[in-house]
Subunit: 201 residues, 2 copies
């Protein structure tokens, strides 16, 4: 009986190969052919799932976005996080998952950067990038509003500008970590320090 | 009588050509040959000043660093800035000059990014990058200490972490501006908002 190949499973398998290449060699010179070798598939099979490198990277970024979201959610559901400051815990968990603090997250960020570099000048990909950014910014804004309503965060904060500031900080720390200009402990200290000041009093 | 060519002047002339290319087409595919055309010089003349693209970009980054510093200083000496909050004014001026808020500063940032991309994996260039980063971080830390001593900034701030946080924020906003994810007014509002909270209660 022929084995039924799960379409989504194959795409995820290819995405993982892309992340490994990103972490090891970067994606600048990577071709679909290299991805096929890494994934242990023929070029034709990879092309069956992705017609171009653009399309593949676009999928990888969505895939990683879901992956990171799942990890944040899993972190949130651990007993340690059922805390008196759920918004702070969530933002800290988000920061930890977004920052390139270990090999896996460095590879993820490199894949994201490769996508961003590719997206410049390609309206369809820039639209993706803009939507992802807006989605994240709105979620963080909503969380800050929630924290204010529940008395966990200062009433005087401007939720929209706090969201812009925090996401910019994480973006910058991410680049600096990747370049080795900050180490993980220093980056996390800066995030914790910043989140502390959002609390009342 | 042969015209005496000022060595530094020629290097600055070439650096300006590099910045124009960065602003227009990016530097990814740019070769010394393209820089020569843009500068209106022969390839041999450009090579007389810079043996390689690495060496040229290294000079350009130093040149731009001095340029930005000069602009910050000029901004500081304007009558409007002789204010009751010199540290805040300085940091805001620094942010305005570092962020890609107009065509010139976008070109400068693109040149900086090209240098950074080139520096990855090249110890000599990474050392440059690390030194530039440390220099800036220490200057901002010192300024925050000064602001605290003079009562302009909150006594409770951690100067080192404030410096890391502010520079990360500017780094992130810079990338986001270049990608069109933020507009100049939004980015500056976030910076002003952030600086406001450093002032005493």
């Amino acid at each position: 009986m022929p084995k039924k190949v799960d379409h989504d499973e194959r795409r995820r398998h290819i995405a993982e190969a892309v992340v490994r290449i990103a972490g090891r060699d970067g994606l600048d010179g990577a071709r679909l052919r290299d991805v096929a070798v890494e994934a242990g598939m023929s070029l034709g099979s990879v092309q069956h799932y992705f017609a171009s490198k653009d399309e593949m990277l676009r999928y990888v970024v969505h895939y990683l976005g879901e992956h990171v979201t799942e990890r944040i959610m899993a972190g949130m559901c651990s007993p340690a996080v059922a805390s008196a400051s759920p918004v702070r815990s969530f933002l800290l968990s988000m920061a930890s998952e977004m920052l390139p603090l270990d090999a896996r997250r460095r590879a993820e960020r490199r894949a994201g950067q490769a996508f961003t570099a590719l997206a410049v000048g390609v309206p369809e990909l820039m639209k993706d990038l803009g939507e992802g950014d807006r989605w994240l910014r709105e979620r963080v804004t909503d969380l800050i509003v929630q924290g204010q309503r529940d008395g966990e965060l200062r009433a005087g904060l401007d939720p929209r500008l706090e969201s812009v500031a925090l996401l910019a900080m994480l973006d910058g720390l991410g680049s600096e970590l990747l370049l080795g200009l900050r180490d993980p402990e220093e980056a996390l200290s800066a995030v914790r320090y910043h989140l502390d000041r959002l609390a009342p009093g």
